[in-house]
């Protein structure tokens, strides 16, 4: 008999907000334990939650990127929960009217294109961190992550292999990063995934017994875990064994999944409306405002860069790997007019600075308009390439609104004053008669020595062609 796998994914994504979902504490990653905490997120009595507007903005953005319907009246509910990393004894989430429903993500695998339906996206709060202390045999609680805003994206069980799951997750990550919904960093836990999986005979309309693996945090682990579970389920079904529905932990080092002690309470969360949070009503103005901020899809930009701007496929791929690169690129091209130059400056020079700072492309935070000005100054021979790199480095530290004025102020403008160049050339020739004699004797290298000396004296601010011409003319005169 042939078997097929049925997989549904629940993906948690931390939203790119400055503050938490229901209080003003910082949502930034890291910090000392309990440094980002207030009476509200510490669950103290009498504190009331107030919804962060940006969370709704980003929830809507995610829904629009994933082709969802947006619920114009969306509400929050309480989900019973009894671990101390959520001090209220419930998680505030959405159950009755989640912000988005009925979406779709299109993927591409070796079997061709496929659509994965999205059941819903809901907004909710994250839980804190529990640390076990062996010395005192107690549990220590850190509420820094408690109430950090999340969306949970629930797919329909439309996925049928590890390859499709990975394609879906990669596409999801690309779209959400592009729309600046989240940085989606698996390694920091800002993207994580629960895998629901069952196996049934092909053609059966009844689902098999389901297992759930929670909090998976890398694509490679998810791929291995799915393959392992498919084999485990298939073997059990073939042997006529009865599987039990369970929650499992994936041990990536051992390459095995283990049943966790099943809780009797699992599955009965007794959701009920949170009376302390008023409904959020999204009017047309709010809805249209968000719609207007949606970016072009990466593949649309890529085609445009190649077809309209004449970039190579390689350059276009590099740029669309990150929304930040695209934004800087487009602003720079608008000013300097040369797509090829702008792409080079971003892919080579900007990336070099980022690498040195151990930052990723997403963190590129220079002003594209300023970069465009700089590229223009170089192409007009007003600033040398070497000095332009120095100005670029300065752009990473401070916003430079008028690059030409900056270049002037710091002496980075190429001198067109030939008399100044001539003076320095004469000085160099007088101080180094040996190089002059060598060059006259046919040693080309000797000219480079003199050229270097002069360029250094001029702080790089000379048109190399002009300097070379003057140098040769003066040597011939000497």
């Amino acid at each position: 008999m042939k078997y097929e796998t049925v997989i549904g994914l629940e993906v948690h994504v931390e939203l790119a907000t400055k503050s938490k979902i229901f209080c003003s504490c910082s949502a930034e990653f890291g910090g000392e334990q309990n440094d980002h905490v207030c009476p509200a997120c510490a669950g103290m009595p009498g504190m009331l939650p107030i919804v962060n507007k940006k969370v709704v903005d980003l929830g809507m953005t995610a829904g629009m990127m994933l082709n969802c319907d947006i619920n114009r009246v969306t509400t929050f509910d309480k989900k019973s929960y009894y671990y101390p990393d959520l001090p209220n004894a419930y998680q505030t989430t959405q159950w009755f009217a989640p912000i988005c429903v009925n979406g779709r993500v299109d993927i591409e695998t070796s079997n061709g294109p496929k659509s994965i339906r999205i059941k819903q996206i809901h907004m909710e709060e994250d839980a804190g961190k529990l640390v076990h202390d062996d010395w005192t045999d107690t549990t220590l609680v850190d509420f820094n992550r408690t109430s950090v805003p999340l969306i949970e994206i629930v797919s329909q069980p439309d996925i049928s292999s590890a390859e499709e799951a990975i394609a879906y997750l990669e596409r999801l990550r690309d779209l959400l990063r592009f729309a600046k919904v989240s940085d989606c960093r698996w390694e920091q836990g800002s993207m994580r995934c629960d895998v629901n999986l069952s196996v049934r005979p092909v053609g059966s309309d009844k689902l098999g017994v389901r297992s759930e693996m929670k909090n998976m945090n890398s694509l490679s682990a998810i791929s291995r875990a799915i393959k392992y579970e498919i084999a485990r389920h298939t073997k059990a079904v073939e042997n006529g064994e009865t599987l039990i529905q369970d929650t499992r932990r994936w041990d990536d080092n051992e390459g095995k999944s283990y049943a966790m002690r099943s809780k009797e309470t699992a599955g009965d969360y007794r959701y009920f409306p949170d009376p302390n949070i008023m409904p959020v009503v999204i009017d047309d103005e709010w809805f249209d405002g968000i719609k207007a901020t949606l970016p072009e899809l990466p593949e649309v930009k890529r085609a445009k860069y190649i077809d309209e701007l004449g970039l190579s496929e390689y350059d276009a791929d590099q740029l669309v790997s990150s929304r930040a690169l695209c934004d800087v690129f487009e602003d720079a091209v608008a000013v300097c007019g040369s797509a090829k130059e702008a792409a080079n400056w971003i892919i080579t020079d900007c990336m070099q600075v980022l690498n040195k700072k151990k930052m990723t492309a997403d963190m590129l935070d220079i002003n594209g308009t300023s970069l465009g000005q700089l590229i223009k100054l170089v192409s007009e021979d007003k600033v040398s390439r070497g000095n332009a790199k120095r100005i670029l480095a300065a752009m990473f530290e401070n916003h430079i609104a008028d690059v030409e004025a900056y270049a002037k102020e710091f002496g980075f403008i190429v001198s067109n004053d030939t008399s100044a160049i001539e003076a320095i050339v004469k000085e160099a020739i007088a101080s180094d008669p040996k190089s002059v004699a060598d060059f006259k004797a046919g040693k080309e290298k000797a000219l480079m020595a003199l050229f270097g000396k002069c360029m250094k004296q001029l702080k790089g601010n000379a048109n190399p062609q002009v300097l070379r011409e003057i140098l040769i003319a003066e040597i011939n005169k000497a």
Partner: protein, 93 residues
């Protein structure tokens, strides 16, 4: 409400009720159940679900991070705290 359901609710809510409390609650649920039956008789066909009792919506705030309390202030009243953590009985799964 039967005793089985109440036992299940106790488990779900991690509560241990005394015999006296159980009796009291059973009586309460008896009355509450009867009240609910009355509500059930109302015809709600074609009536939209009431989302919220009060005519209030969009109590929202801008995304601005503020630090209003220090950790020490917050943990002053904690029953137990250690190294800047709240300290609770060991968690057993």
């Amino acid at each position: 409400m039967d005793i089985k359901t109440l036992e299940r609710l106790q488990k779900l809510n991690q509560l241990k009720l005394t015999e006296e409390e159980t009796e009291k609650l059973m009586a309460f649920f008896e009355t509450a159940g009867k009240d609910a039956e009355i509500l059930d008789t109302v015809n709600t066909e074609n009536v939209e679900r009431m989302v919220y009792v009060m005519p209030m919506t969009n109590i929202i705030r801008e995304d601005i991070a503020k630090k209003l309390f220090t950790r020490d202030q917050l943990q002053e009243q904690a029953p137990e705290a250690m190294d800047g953590y709240w300290q609770v009985p060991r968690l057993v799964d």
